[in-house]
């Protein structure tokens, strides 16, 4: 008697075809799963999805909004991907974005008269330092005692958001404004220039430059190589004489600094002031974008646009009375399928025909 069994065989190198196909199939399957949920709760999935994607991709306005949401996603995703490369689980991009926005806002709120060529670089540097230091707070105990950075970075998200709330409800509240939790508006010199007269701002340029820079660092530099080695085997890295502690501190600082840029770009490029709720969770979506892109900087740029569209689509369906949380749900589902699909990238499925005698052995 013959029996067929399914066997998993580890691939020596990940299948390049699967690396590309799995994310695509995952997105489709997540939409299918989301569709089942929508049907169960009495909605028409095709109408909801077409509304989501027509609104986000079907018009000049929609495309612009999609890009506006994609920019902070690109930056935060690049930030977390740098840490993820080293298996440092920086889940704190959200808080680092808020701290970057806060520090960047300090300059125009304190010295509004600065000219743009000092103001903008100043805001950028302040945003980077604040985001970087906020991440460094968790990197120090991680480097010395191996304190779990997932928990510490995440807890500091709540602290950063509350800190910004404290400022805009309190000391930084616009004295001439109504009772809203917003700071005074920045001067024109503190506003990042836009692309033409659209809302797409120079933050896109920061993201493109950083993506290329990171791609080059990982492909050609010794430092990029050592980060990859530490990420795949700390023991091997230690034998090779790489300084792991110093790299933990450095990588976490840079990772936070990049998310700090995202915060600076939001307040300077889009909002023009500091306010409550400057991010709808870009720092969390960034985790999905980074993983879906296999931590590849160029892929991150593309995937961010897709998730920007999902975000805009989420707002669009709200008008129809469907909660925007449907977009968050889809994001989580996409990540499930990507994770599940990775087994096809890393393993080869084999059907094995076992002979009867072998089975009885």
């Amino acid at each position: 008697m013959n029996r067929l069994t399914l066997k998993l065989e580890k691939r020596l190198t990940p299948s390049p075809v699967m690396v590309f196909i799995i994310p695509l199939i995952s997105v489709l399957l997540a939409l299918l799963l989301g569709g089942i949920f929508l049907v169960l709760t009495g909605e028409k999935p095709l109408d909801v999805y077409s509304l989501m994607f027509v609104d986000s991709l079907g018009s000049k306005y929609g495309l612009t909004e999609t890009m506006v949401k994609a920019i902070p996603l690109m930056l935060t995703s690049l930030g977390v991907s740098l840490a993820f490369k080293m298996k440092l689980w920086n889940i704190g991009a959200e808080g680092q974005l808020y701290m970057g926005a806060m520090a960047a806002s300090w300059l125009p709120l304190t010295i509004p008269s600065l000219p743009a060529y000092i103001m903008l670089p100043g805001m950028l540097i302040l945003g980077m330092i604040a985001g970087g230091l906020w991440a460094l707070l968790t990197a120090i105990p991680r480097a010395i005692w191996k304190v779990n950075e997932i928990i510490t970075t995440l807890m500091l998200n709540y602290v950063a958001i509350l800190w910004v709330d404290y400022l805009v409800y309190g000391p930084w509240k616009d004295p001439n404004g109504s009772n809203f939790p917003i700071s005074a508006s920045f001067s024109e010199a503190a506003r990042l220039p836009g692309l033409g007269d659209s809302r797409i701002h120079a933050g896109l340029f920061f993201a493109l430059v950083l993506a290329v820079l990171l791609a080059i660092v990982f492909k050609y530099s010794r430092w990029g190589y050592s980060i990859n080695v530490i990420g795949s085997s700390e023991r091997a890295a230690r034998y090779a004489g790489m300084n792991i502690k110093r790299n933990i501190l450095l990588v976490m600082f840079l990772s936070g600094a990049i998310s700090g840029i995202a915060g600076m770009a939001e307040v300077s490029g889009i909002i023009g002031k500091l306010q409550h709720g400057i991010s709808p969770g870009y720092g969390y979506t960034a985790i999905i974008v980074a993983w879906l892109s296999k931590l590849n900087p160029v892929a991150i740029l593309i995937v961010s646009v897709l998730f920007g569209a999902l975000q805009v689509g989420g707002y669009a369906v709200q008008v129809e009375g469907i909660p925007a949380a449907v977009a968050t749900m889809l994001q989580g589902a996409i990540l499930f399928f990507v994770l599940g699909g990775e087994i096809f990238t890393n393993y080869r499925l084999k059907l094995i025909r076992q002979k009867g005698e072998e089975l009885s052995k």
Binding site: M155, T328, L339, E342
Partner: protein, 310 residues
């Protein structure tokens, strides 16, 4: 105001505020003892809170709500189990996906339940003579049924883990799954069970919030308690008694915030809200630093088990 008048309500409030974290932490503790990290606790709690609330509103019975929250929590944990045990996916990322998915799902399901009261939340049942013991009675024995069940649960889990054969196997499962496999135990099957049971407990933690602590549903009402529960497991060094102590300590910080003003301490409400999160970070650093980085974490925690790599 006497010290007693301040202290007794504060400690009683610590127990109540600590109970949802305790349930979630016990669930995570079992899961991690079996060798699987589940960072989806926050999402599981949220879905547990919303499904328990929906069921309690629909049926009018909080116990049906509790059952629904356990089923929902277990079902979400099952996804994590399938991805990490069968498909050997990265446990950290799978847990994060679960939290994001659960946040979205709970927000989606609960949209029409915001602002609705529960017809019958879990109510305080003083435990007769135990509730009358001076000092201890009002702190420990004048609560709702779920608080009492959590006491029993801590004792039960402790007894199970350290005094029974299956409990010994559970501990070994997280230390050395290969040895368990060699002894003829089904590592995959057992891990599935403990991950799902852990998720069900996380669901109860959520339901405690929506059906007893603040009987209502609000989007993101867990406010990071699931993550605090994950931190608590480390603080507890994977021991249920220490989890109980830790949960009440965190509950105390939560409860203290509201009462500082009574003491005449003026502090911005935003800073008060920061306290539990800052406290979590500080205590985690303190506990881990004291162990000099050599935590007694289960040896195989976070590693997927592959028979062929034995």
């Amino acid at each position: 105001m006497s010290i007693q008048e301040f202290l007794i309500p504060l400690l009683a409030a610590s127990v109540i505020a600590g109970t949802p974290i305790l349930y979630a932490a016990l669930g995570e503790l079992i899961t991690e003892r079996a060798g699987i990290i589940n960072l989806g606790v926050e999402g599981i709690m949220l879905v547990g809170a919303v499904s328990g609330f929906m069921m309690a509103v629909t049926s009018g019975n909080p116990w049906y709500g509790l059952l629904a929250s356990m089923l929902a929590g277990g079902a979400l944990a099952l996804i994590h189990a399938f991805l990490t045990i069968t498909l050997r996916a990265n446990q950290v990322v799978s847990g994060l996906a679960l939290t994001i998915f659960g946040t979205g799902l709970s927000g989606y399901l609960g949209k029409e339940y915001i602002g609705i009261p529960v017809p019958k939340p879990f109510e305080v049942i003083p435990l007769g003579p135990l509730g009358d013991i001076p000092f201890i009675g009002p702190i420990l024995f004048q609560h709702d049924a779920l608080v009492y069940i959590s006491y029993i649960l801590v004792v039960a889990i402790w007894y199970f883990m350290f005094h029974t054969r299956p409990g010994l196997n559970l501990r070994a499962l997280g230390e050395n799954p290969a040895a368990m496999d060699a002894l003829g135990l089904n590592v995959f099957y057992l891990r599935y069970i403990y991950v799902v049971v852990g998720g069900a407990l996380g669901g109860i933690g959520g339901a405690y919030l929506s059906l007893a602590y603040a009987p209502s549903w609000l989007e993101n009402m867990t406010a990071g308690r699931g993550w605090i529960a994950v931190a608590l497991v480390i603080f507890a060094l994977w021991n249920p008694w220490r989890a109980l102590m830790g949960a009440y300590l965190f509950g105390g910080i939560d409860a203290l915030g509201f009462r500082l003003q009574v003491l005449g301490i003026q502090m911005s409400p935003f800073f008060l809200k920061m306290l539990p999160y800052l406290f979590t970070v500080l205590i985690l650093v303190f506990v881990v630093a004291r162990q000099k980085g050599r935590l007694t974490a289960p040896g195989a925690l976070g590693l997927s088990y592959d028979r062929e790599e034995r």
